[in-house]
Symmetry: C2
Subunit: 143 residues, 2 copies
DNA sequence: CTATTAATTTAGAATTATTATAATTCTAAA
DNA sequence: TTTAGAATTATAATAATTCTAAATTAATAG
């Protein structure tokens, strides 16, 4: 954490893009602290702890903003709520079919993967998302 | 289409599981005809064409039933509505970031893929889902 | 420093997607 | 043809998310 990170707002404001406001900073802090992948509702809960009075709408707005700025990543599966990921670099996910735990990992060789997927589909590739579904180490034991 | 496919109901009924009723058959037909990946709402629209009076709830119930029976597959991305896929074997998806088109394809080497993903995560693997995001052949031209 | 303008936040309503409920209807078998 | 269980229907409920309008806050010009 840089010593002048609290000046970020002013710095950014003077010119192009919109600001990293206090509430957005709080939301970002929540997502970045801890390696869980919280839902918007969970982010709201935690954010309210740090800043009582913050609204649900602002959490959503902030998450959308932070996503656009590339500071957090949205991860959406199945029908449930989206989860937010502090890791913004390309990576893969594994989700436990028993407990729902979501973990990040990096599969080597995804560059070649994206290439062959593009070849097979004739798409101009932008990204690949790979998700492993299975039993997490904890759940595979407790059986 | 087998000549006795209309007897399916009776055949199945006599014994174990529940029936492939008329409305379920209609929903199945809708998903299986055409290679689009319709949402529940789209399935409802089309189903109502074949069977006016079918309810939205029944479409949802039928899709859930058909999914359990392994006759259709649910595909869920992002925040939007789930889409339903007539292709039930393991396969991959490519989604166009411009027009939303969703196409099926099969990437070779996914067996090895699932193995290395499992190795990296220590998960007991069940399935892998790979999605390529990019521009579909149509959209990559019209630029 | 103050007025003006623009962006952001808030609270709550609205929307969208989906599931649950309760009453009715259908189906298959006795 | 009665009956039991399953399925369907209409509707209500729920969950997740977005929108709206008013209030607040921040940035900029004077």
């Amino acid at each position: 954490m840089k010593p002048d990170s609290h000046k970020f707002t002013k710095e950014k404001r003077a010119g192009e893009g919109p600001a990293l406001t206090r509430q957005r900073q709080v939301v970002l802090d929540v997502v970045q602290s801890g390696d869980t992948h919280p839902t918007a509702a969970e982010v709201f809960e935690a954010a309210r702890g740090k800043m009582p009075g913050i609204s649900f709408a602002t959490v959503y707005n902030s998450l959308r903003f932070l996503k656009r700025e590339g500071l957090v990543r949205e991860v959406a599966f199945g029908g449930g709520a989206s989860r937010y990921d502090r890791e913004t670099d390309r990576h893969d996910h594994a989700i436990c079919s028993a407990c729902g735990t979501l973990v990040d990992f990096d599969l080597p060789g995804t560059v070649e993967l994206i290439r062959s997927a593009a070849r097979a589909t004739r798409f101009k590739p932008e990204s690949v998302h790979l998700t492993l579904v299975g039993l997490c180490p904890d759940c595979r034991e407790c059986k």
